[in-house]
Chain length 271, copies 2
């Protein structure tokens, strides 16, 4: 299967989720966890429902196109579909805390890799499920929002910093010098969408202090990089050698361009 | 005009904005400020466009129903429609920073007062313009989201704290003890929506450190109070004597219930 064909599969899944979403979110039982996913977070009905849609699509791709790949997804963990080196890395609903609470800010994130590390990222797709906006990128072929090319600004100023803090008591003091240097802060509650809105020029920097998981950021990372942005760990090192999986990997520092990234790194090192 | 009739006018404005929004947000010129509003913020095309819709509706209400009132709106300032004691207090687009940057999280907020202070708040309406969800309340008659009654939880735990920081360098240190006590933080960039999502039980506490303006919070405040929540200043005092207007008034502390509010107040006083 070509990367473009994969992207069409990803888009189809996003559209199917978006169409069915109102019904699942209206469930009175939506706020009650029904288990815990392989990634460690609680599973809510919306997570399970979204993963079922995605898995059905993967089963179909395997059966009809003969694609062989390993699926890594937040809820189910790892499942092999034949013997292949490709990896499909998924967070069915990134921001499920928002979704289950009726806050319309959460997304579906899916990435294709030619091997097991992020250096082999080939395609990324993120849909903002609350509004239907689509973001995608293919390595070397640019990043897009609803089909329009994304380019991050080349300005060096830190206007808006968004962040994700899984453990505010630990995380906020670590990122405070960066947050207080900004004109505004944002904490939306969805890493995948944070990266796509950074890619679309809405924010200047995105930071996490608790190590993030690849299924949350791989797709958004490629979209940001293809739009001209940069993502590293807090040492400023490339994430190319990070393995796709369910574990927490490294804390992220992402920026609209390399000059802004250097400024943000310097601010983090103040601590 | 009855309060219910006013509410129908407010809903009509919200729906008209929602219907026309895609066209105005697609403008390439959307990110360039076209002036500064009476409330002090920059005016963007989306702000001006939304205010024009609202003002046209007010002119029609005055002309056809003979309603006499004072309009106070973020962009135009104050305009009288005949000699009456009622006040209509509006933020045409709350969260215009998000709107102009393509981040789908911003709302239309409008409140009706029988006089010039917040003690005389009679009705509040907020629409999340990005998704079309409507929130409203009439004093003594409850709060609603898309027609369904809202009740805040009676639990005392501080799970999610949302905040607005107009000046992060000054504001974040002041609210840090409250933020670090939470399991998660949020900063969405729209005070009106922060209050409505607190009213709908998605968050536990909402706080601002820079004094907020009544057109940003009056509508959401009544919705929250009618849902069982509480809004005060940082001294824990009622906002009833605050005058509706364009000025920055007091910093806000809002919570899902009074026990949670007392816990949050104690955390703020740690500083």
């Amino acid at each position: 299967m070509t990367t473009e064909q994969w992207l069409e599969v990803f888009r189809g899944i996003g559209k199917e989720m978006r169409a069915g979403l109102p019904a699942i979110l209206d469930l009175e039982t939506g706020r009650t966890a029904i288990g815990r996913g392989a990634g460690g977070d609680k599973t809510f009905p919306v997570d399970k429902w979204a993963e079922d849609i995605m898995v059905a699509a993967m089963e179909q791709v395997h059966a009809t196109n003969g694609a062989a790949f390993t699926l890594v997804s937040e809820e189910l963990g790892t499942r092999t579909f034949g013997a292949g080196t490709q990896v499909v890395l998924v967070d069915p609903v990134d921001g499920s805390n928002n979704a289950k609470n009726g806050v319309p800010f959460f997304g579906f994130a899916i990435a294709l890799l030619d091997g097991s590390t992020l250096a082999e990222l080939k395609a990324g797709y993120v849909m903002n499920l609350a509004v239907g906006d689509e973001f995608w990128a293919v390595r070397g072929k640019g990043a897009f929002k609803n089909g329009k090319t994304l380019r991050t600004p080349d300005t060096a100023d830190i206007v808006i910093v968004s962040y994700e803090a899984t453990d505010p008591a630990n995380d906020l003091p670590l990122i405070l010098p960066l947050l207080t240097s900004a004109r505004r802060t944002r904490c939306f509650g969805s890493t995948a969408l944070d990266l796509t809105y950074l890619a679309s020029g809405a924010t200047s920097v995105f930071v996490t202090a608790t190590p993030s998981r690849t299924f949350d950021y791989a797709a958004g990372m490629l979209i940001l990089e293809e739009a001209g942005g940069i993502v590293t760990d807090w040492a400023g090192s490339s994430l190319g050698s990070v393995r796709a999986g369910l574990d927490r990997t490294v804390p992220l520092l992402a920026a609209k361009n390399s000059v802004t990234h250097q400024k943000a790194l310097a601010l983090l090192r103040k601590n």
